[in-house]
Symmetry: C2
Subunit: 111 residues, 2 copies
């Protein structure tokens, strides 16, 4: 399921991520229909650079945080790469918009 590799803008080892062609819109909606994950995505959308997992104020434990980042990555919403002990995340904005035109924009604009 996880096939290709994420591009790693600042070097570092990219984590496996799914091809967006294999992701259905239901999976994306399900992933984003969770408060913590939506907060992560909103934060990433505002950020200009990839963010390390620890840079978020999520109010959940480390393991829960890890869980949500994995769900987002496996749903094709974010890409991640490791650098040192940190794991950086960024939105797959372009690919997402190509696969589901207007969807991310509409969700981020909501509220």
């Amino acid at each position: 399921m996880l096939t290709s590799r994420a591009r790693s803008p600042a070097a570092g080892k990219a984590l496996e991520q799914p091809d967006l062609r294999n992701i259905g819109v239901e999976q994306v909606l399900r992933a984003l229909g969770e408060p913590v994950r939506l907060r992560i995505v909103r934060a990433l959308a505002c950020a200009e650079h990839p963010m390390s997992c620890g840079a978020f104020e999520l109010g959940v434990s480390k393991s829960t945080s890890t869980h949500h980042f994995r769900v987002l990555r496996e749903s094709g919403i974010i890409s991640q790469y490791e650098e040192g002990t940190a794991r950086y995340s960024e939105l797959r904005t372009t690919e997402l918009d190509e696969r589901f035109p207007g969807l991310l924009r509409a969700i981020l604009d909501a509220e």
Copy 2:
């Protein structure tokens, strides 16, 4: 939570439905991130007239069907009104688009 009444285009008693101002985008995403419910919404989007619950080929039992229609109604996505023994559903397209501009369109266009 369920306050106002749905308009009933063809007469019939409208069921209570939430004010869209009280609905968050997460709730909508969660509701639509389920295959059966997304099928219902897609069918309603194609239909020109409200559809009775029995008009759908959902492949689930009657009680499961009832459950999904309620989730959609309580999430502000559909409105329902009763007429005789039937319960008709329609998308709250206009309100939804006002509350979450572009969201419904993007989801329906996906795939």
